[in-house]
Symmetry: C2
Subunit: 165 residues, 2 copies
């Protein structure tokens, strides 16, 4: 069981979008140059991020993608969910009601969740909560000045005055 | 991303093995009857549990499978790992060292883990720790008396004196 490979670059792409400026659209070509990714591949995933409401597609010659909301309101969990892992890691098929227990199905179900299911869901909650606690803003704060400068250079965007301070 | 379906029945099977008695081998046919599972399917997965050292295969006419160690020393995480999800959910490909950053690779790597990777690993740790905290013994303690009786009936094993107390 492994998360889709797109999670890594999608998280990085969101960090870049935040570093260059939340309100400044960046073309998928510009974004692709930062980490030398295929623009086609990148675009496919940017569409998923857009569908999940994490980025907004801005039309026009100087258009592209920008964050759809504040970088402190986008978590790593949002990224994981946008790329298709929103659903449960474990799906209980209620095997406790099968075979020797089939005739007791309604009584068993009335007792609530199976202990195994409960434990699996609890573990998954711990995973998702941990991912929810990390925002794109927090991740971007770890990007050093030299890396920021390169991100501006390669995307062709200029640092804003605020960014220069 | 979803865990293999076998996780559910493997966890249940280990609970049954503990309920009927850690030291009493149960045939895969007997075990299959409890939840009306296919003995072939069950056997394939019992082999994986055996390979992971969670159950021991006992040869002979009254042979079968029994727990390889105490039920309090087998966790839900052991089950998940035995069925193939021991590896990381997230594998960092170091895309931070690609493209515009390719010439800085050694300096970047020297700074330690990428923040995104660190956060993903931390979340995964939270998931695995939670699974590790739940033992087969703890799960079995939630099995009621009526269900225990049925497990003995359908497996053809008699409760031990200790079990009757
Ligand atoms: S019945 Fe599904 S986890 Fe127990
Ligand atoms: S470089 Fe792999 S997660 Fe950042």
């Amino acid at each position: 069981m492994e998360l889709p490979k797109g999670v890594e670059w999608a998280a990085h792409a969101l960090v870049v979008l935040h570093v260059v400026g939340d309100d400044r659209p960046l073309s998928s070509a510009g974004l692709a140059r930062v980490f030398d990714l295929s623009p086609t591949y990148l675009n496919k995933h940017l569409q998923k991020l857009a569908a999940a409401g994490l980025v907004t597609s801005v039309p026009g010659a100087s258009g592209g993608f920008r964050l759809a909301r504040g970088a402190d309101e986008i978590s790593l969990h949002d990224v994981v969910a946008a790329l298709g892992s929103a659903g449960p890691l474990f799906r209980c098929k209620e095997i406790r009601c099968q075979g020797a227990f089939a005739d007791q199905k309604s009584q068993i179900l009335a007792q609530g969740l199976c202990g195994i299911n409960r434990a699996m869901l609890q573990a998954e909650d711990a995973w998702r909560s941990s991912l929810r606690s990390v925002s794109i803003a927090a991740l971007a704060s770890g990007v050093g000045a030299a890396s920021r400068t390169r991100m501006f250079q390669v995307t062709g965007l200029e640092p804003t005055t605020q960014e220069n301070q």
